[in-house]
């Protein structure tokens, strides 16, 4: 089923619907809770799983090749800049991992408009924004030979 939603945990908030890149998490009109409408187009990308505030979505590996009895759970904590995984094997083995996801606060990226505006002539040069400084080179390389 790739992703599925636990009836008792989902409150129908729609965040999974909003994020799914395949547009396959939809709200069931009768139960007012989400479900995967096209499991065969699910990439198991976990975008919806990570986004669900209720931890109501889980993944059961593709029936084509994944035997039952496993689980891969995730807790992504933006405020801590980290993600934690719990992998449970069919035979009961457990593995846990935690990795960093970002080194700066969310929403801290300086927008391009905060830099001094380039002059019109620079538009004709091959340099991109912040170059050559951001290359940490004195100048942009140019090729030697040319037909």
């Amino acid at each position: 089923m790739p992703t599925y939603t636990y009836m008792t945990r989902c409150d129908g908030c729609g965040q999974c619907v909003d994020i799914c890149p395949a547009d396959i998490m939809h709200i069931d009109p009768v139960y007012r809770r989400s479900y995967n409408i096209e499991p065969n187009f699910c990439w198991e990308c976990y975008s919806c799983v990570k986004a669900c505030p209720q931890h109501a979505i889980d993944v059961r590996g593709y029936a084509d090749f994944a035997p039952l009895g496993h689980s891969v759970r995730v807790l992504r904590e933006e405020e801590h800049g980290s993600i934690a995984w719990k992998v449970r094997y069919r035979d009961g083995r457990l593995k846990e991992f935690r990795f960093p996801i970002r080194t700066t606060p969310w929403d801290s990226i300086t927008p391009p408009t905060a830099y001094a505006a380039p002059d019109r002539a620079a538009l004709d040069s091959p340099l991109l924004a912040h170059e050559p400084e951001a290359l940490y080179l004195a100048a942009l390389p140019v090729p030697q030979g040319r037909v």
Binding site: P2, P21, A22, D23, H26, I37, P39, N40, F41, C42, W43, E44, C45, S47, V59, G61, Y62, A63, D64, F65, P67, H70, V72, R76, I83, W85, V87, R88, Y89, R90, R93, F97, F99, P100, I101, R102, T103, T104, S108, I109, P111, P112, T113, A117, R120, L123, P126, L128, A129, H130, E131, P132, A134, L135, Y136, L137, P141, V142, P143, V147
Partner: protein
Amino acid sequence: MRPRIHYVDCDVLIVGGGFGGCGAAYEARYWGRDLKIVVAEKANITRSGAVAHGLSAINCYMGMRWGENRPEDFVHYVRGDLMGLVREDLVYDIARHVDSTVHKFEEWGLPIMKDPATGHYLREGRWQVMIHGESYKPIIAEAAVKSAEVHNRVMVTHLLRDKTDPNRVAGAIGFHMREGTCYVFRARAVINAAGGASHIFRPRSVGEGAGRTWYSPWSSASAYALLIQAGAKMIQMENRIVLARFKDGYGPVGAWMLLLKAPSTNAYGEDFEAQRLEEIRALVGPYADTRPMPTCLRNHAMLQEMKAGRGPIYMHTQNVIDSKEKEDLGWEDFLDMTVGQAVLWAAQNIDPRERPSELMTSEPYVMGSHATCSGAWASGPDDCAPTDYQWGYNRMTTVAGLFGAGDTIGGSAHKFSSGSFTEGRIAGKAAVKYVRDHATQPPQLDEAQVQELHQAIFRPLDTYAVNRNEIVAGSVAPHYLTPLQGLQRLEKIMDEYAGGYSLFYVTSAPLLNRALELVAMLKEDLHQLGAEDLHQLMRAWELHHRVCTAEAVIRHTLFREETRWPGYYYRADHPTPRDPDWHVFTASRYDTRSDTWQLEKLPVHHFI
């Protein structure tokens, strides 16, 4: 049904907010402070495109500041990997700019691993650096959202032409997948960054697992179809890619192979690649001695081994995990970018510390940013490109005002995430220049075209509504086809006639000609697609884009009378590379009105 039209006026329209699109948004805003820059994104930009999961490596980084590589070195590598056929000007251009992109990513908060000995970025291989990349896409999207007006859940179905000059772009049309409204973008320049194509060929898993393709299932060929229908010249559409990946889960092999150095063998523990070297030399001559060995030839060795019944092919992960750090690294590789592989390990009780994992060649994909380079014929940078590769603005296609980036642009392989973003930046700057240079001559919409498309886009909803009443229930109806049914027909044709996995990637002129006959009938049937709702309407247009792209793949494959990339596909009637006759790019141009294709050869210049 004709839902209302929502008009959006803009200077630069970016179709697709993936890596190319986000780079284009950032750069266009940097140079065009006063311009209106708009992104039309089919999904939600925070998790859209091929990087929705995240990634565990940046696969294109020179390290020029530490003297690690020069752009020339990269050009030589990419040329070797693609058996000689690349646009050296475009590859060079990516290489010389890509480091500034990666340095910006690090400043924005992407955690890049460091080599404790040197303090440099930790290399996976010569060109790759390791990252903690689960949030790669949300971070990059943040920069784009701060640069442009983003319309999420708007699928672009067609580009619009100028009323007086049909070879100039005037905007794009599509629909909002939640509101059900028609969107018409009136734009002075358009950058197509809509990503590559999965599901052109039948995937190996066809049941519930059909979504576990290697490239994302939402990569639906818009990068190509939008351009083809607009009359842009395309190149190398035959250059589909097959990937050797962990079997079924399609977990990437890069970190295991290059960084952890896990060996792969046949079922009997033999190094088949070395054993088959002479045989590969006999097939492709000196190309066999390119180092590293071209990706397609490594596939070829594996395919021969599997045909000989000496599989499964194994990656010996258990040989190389001798510490907790390495175990974490191996797992993070998948948890960051292909969680399905971790799910598979857990389900099949495979502990990579203890036992090897099977490798398998995937179904073919059509894309322009990996070890392959299908896409648009684009104008090169004016300080690098040979004169016949240069007709105006950098990364502009043969249609005036229409640019591309990432998977869209042909001839320039090995861009990956960082290179696609970089190419978006290049296109973004060039588009701003185009808009400025043409400030007094804005394009004009062709209202007749808008009306016609407005009608056509929503037709599948009507087709379904009318014909559904004919049957009691179920999915079988005489007067409409669901998008999934049409997709499965396409995949079967491509698999069995155009070089899919079921025939070990073999095709030939008779097979390809038969494919064209069947595709022609499928194209007729596309007029009878029925869509139950807006989601299925998206599926219907994805299918249109895939079928159009598939036809280009067939026609290019037929045109190139050689087997240039054994391991990607084989022309059984022309089984070897044929230099110099075919040391060229194949180019095509489609004429929508007459439904005809013109193919030609374009020269490959080696100058770096």
